[in-house]
């Protein structure tokens, strides 16, 4: 096995063994083990990034049994990008989780174990090169995520967790049916199936629909707003940053790698669905009375935006979409962490309480502003780079509809971001909130701010990431 392949194993086994150790330890000690594990596995990303930069991808096959007999893993640029988001968001969320889930709380024991299990599932979903392996990875991720949402004992959180679980099972059902049909057609479960004629469209649609549920693409998004807004802060941050994205990445992979010649009408149809999600999410975000709901609907809008990669399939579009994944993931995690602190101090995230936030909680307000810049896609932020690449791709292929849509998405994001920011800077004569709760440790605010800053800074130096993504996806048309 090459050293790089051994490091791949580490990406899954470091979080997994940390989770096992966490379960074995008495509840009070668990968070130490998990923090160690949470800081350890990202270290693997440095040598792995260099390996991917050199060789385009790192592959590994279990037991030496080549697919379709066995299972393979593959780390390519796309997976690497999302892994970095996961690593950075995970580390940034640790201070917030440390404060929120201290050992006196009964549910903190299972929380820490579940945190690492979620990390295992997400990493695995990004590495999987086998359709069924992807299924079990997504199941693990979903179950851990639902349990993490339920660590908040409120009725809203429990109901949101239950709704997410039921919908996710429904999505899995469709996905598995699709996988079964693929096996019946090709006799193989590997994601990349060279040389077969067009994949059975029914199987493709089933798998994609299942993944759409997990990635919360409109109109199958209904679980997301309540799940994100009622989950504890660090949980919402990590979910927004990576859990939905893992399903979206799987969606892209199946579209481009597995189905080598998907019909163009389906691509346009999915692009339209993305457009609908984009518009719906943005409008809904503008109308929400709670900050976390605004951020959640913004996620729905951006996932729709990312679906535009399908009709625009080109290397440039892929670079843009991949970069957008990075920037958006960091920005969203930052926003949810900031919102978590706001909820702690103000007692609620209702936007009625936002006026004067820039004086009360300047770090959080600045974080929201910076992250908002990335969401809108203002230069020089990372969000701008992603949007610009997609715009160029649309321009070159003459896709005017998509062009207009991308510009529109920027405007609509601006609408709901400015609404929030304007409120925070507005100072009414009479302050809305009377009682401020004790502030969380400063490091939680700084962690969120760092993420937001990163999202902007990568826009200043985009070339390493863009070059990494430059190889495009296998099977991408044009």
């Amino acid at each position: 096995m090459t050293p790089a392949a051994q490091l791949l194993i580490g990406l899954v086994f470091v979080p997994l063994s940390t989770a096992l150790v966490a379960v074995l330890l008495p509840p009070r000690r668990r968070r130490w083990a998990v923090v160690l594990g949470g800081l350890a596995w990202p270290c693997l990303l440095v040598p792995l990034s260099m390996a991917v930069a050199r060789e385009q991808s790192v592959v590994m096959v279990f037991g030496g049994w080549a697919p379709p007999l066995g299972i393979g893993w593959r780390l390519d640029a796309l997976g690497l990008v999302v892994l970095w988001v996961h690593a950075l968001a995970g580390i940034a969320a640790l201070p917030s989780a440390w404060r929120r889930f201290d050992p006196d709380l009964p549910e903190s024991g299972p929380f820490w174990s579940l945190w690492m299990i979620l990390a295992t599932g997400v990493n695995l979903a990004l590495l999987a090169a086998d359709l069924f392996n992807l299924y079990v990875a997504l199941e693990l991720t979903t179950l851990a995520a639902v349990a993490l949402i339920a660590t908040d004992d409120g009725i809203a959180a429990l109901a949101a967790a239950m709704r997410y679980l039921l919908l996710a099972v429904l999505g899995s059902l469709m996905y598995v049916l699709g996988v079964g049909l693929v096996y019946a057609q090709t006799g193989s479960l590997a994601m990349h199936q060279p040389g077969i004629e067009a994949l059975n469209n029914v199987a493709l649609v089933l798998m994609l629909t299942g993944l759409m549920v997990k990635a919360a693409i409109f109109p199958l998004h209904v679980w997301l707003p309540h799940a994100y807004s009622n989950a504890p802060g660090p949980v919402a941050a990590i979910m927004a940053a990576v859990v939905g994205k893992a399903a979206l990445v799987a969606f892209w992979r199946i579209w481009f790698e597995t189905a080598e010649a998907p019909p163009a009408q389906l691509a346009d149809f999915l692009g339209l669905i993305g457009a609908a999600a984009l518009v719906y999410g943005a409008i809904a975000a503008y109308l929400q009375p709670r900050l976390k709901m605004v951020i959640a609907y913004s996620s729905i809008s951006h996932f729709g935006f990312l679906l535009l990669l399908l009709p625009l399939a080109s290397q440039q579009a892929f670079q843009g979409a991949g970069f957008h994944l990075l920037a958006h993931g960091l920005a969203k995690a930052a926003m949810f962490l900031a919102a978590a602190n706001i909820v702690v101090v103000l007692g609620s995230d209702s936007i009625r309480h936002l006026p004067g936030l820039d004086k009360r909680m300047p770090l959080e307000a600045f974080t929201l502003a910076l992250a908002g810049v990335t969401l809108i896609g203002l230069p020089p932020s990372g969000g701008f780079t992603g949007k610009w690449m997609l715009l160029s791709a649309a321009w070159e292929t003459g896709g005017w509809f998509w062009l207009v849509l991308i510009v529109l998405s920027g405007l609509m994001s601006a609408a709901y971001v400015f609404r929030i920011l304007a409120l925070t800077c507005f100072h009414p004569a009479r302050r809305a909130v009377h009682h401020l709760h004790p502030r969380p440790p400063k490091i939680t605010s700084l962690a969120a701010l760092t993420l937001a800053l990163l999202a902007v800074v990568i826009g200043l130096y985009p070339h390493p990431v863009l070059d990494l993504l430059g190889a495009g996806m296998p099977g991408m048309v044009r």
Binding site: L143, D153, M162, L165, V169, V176, G180, L181, A184
Partner: protein
């Protein structure tokens, strides 16, 4: 021919599950319906692929076995979540707009809410 019969059986069970999922408000009934749909799917996965030397293909069998274990894990967790939700909100449903009178109880009052209190 046998395969066709079982495909139709699987389809019927799947349809019944979908109906049950849509119609029931109680979470446990939804879980039962989802389990029916899963079972129908597993049946399809075994019946459709061609046999090898007269026996069913071992790969789908292993997949279904994995699926059964994942299904029981998910169901067990969902049941625990349901019990907790029931204890907190007084009814086992996730439809926010459900009319309490449909569930056979009075409209919620302050007294009812405190009765459901926390038991940390």
């Amino acid at each position: 021919m046998t395969s066709a019969v079982f495909v139709l059986v699987a389809a019927a069970i799947f349809g019944l599950g979908v109906h049950g999922l849509l119609v029931s408000a109680h979470i446990m009934r939804k879980l039962l319906a989802l389990n029916l749909m899963l079972s129908a799917l597993f049946l399809l996965l075994i019946v459709v692929p061609a046999t090898i030397d007269g026996r069913p293909d071992p790969v789908p069998q292993a997949l279904v076995l994995t699926g059964i274990v994942i299904a029981v894990s998910t169901t067990a967790f969902a049941l625990a979540l349901m019990v907790r939700l029931f204890r907190k909100q007084g009814h086992a449903s996730i439809h926010p707009d459900i009319d309490p009178r449909l569930l056979g109880r009075k409209a919620p009052s302050k007294a009812n809410k405190t009765a459901q209190g926390d038991d940390r």
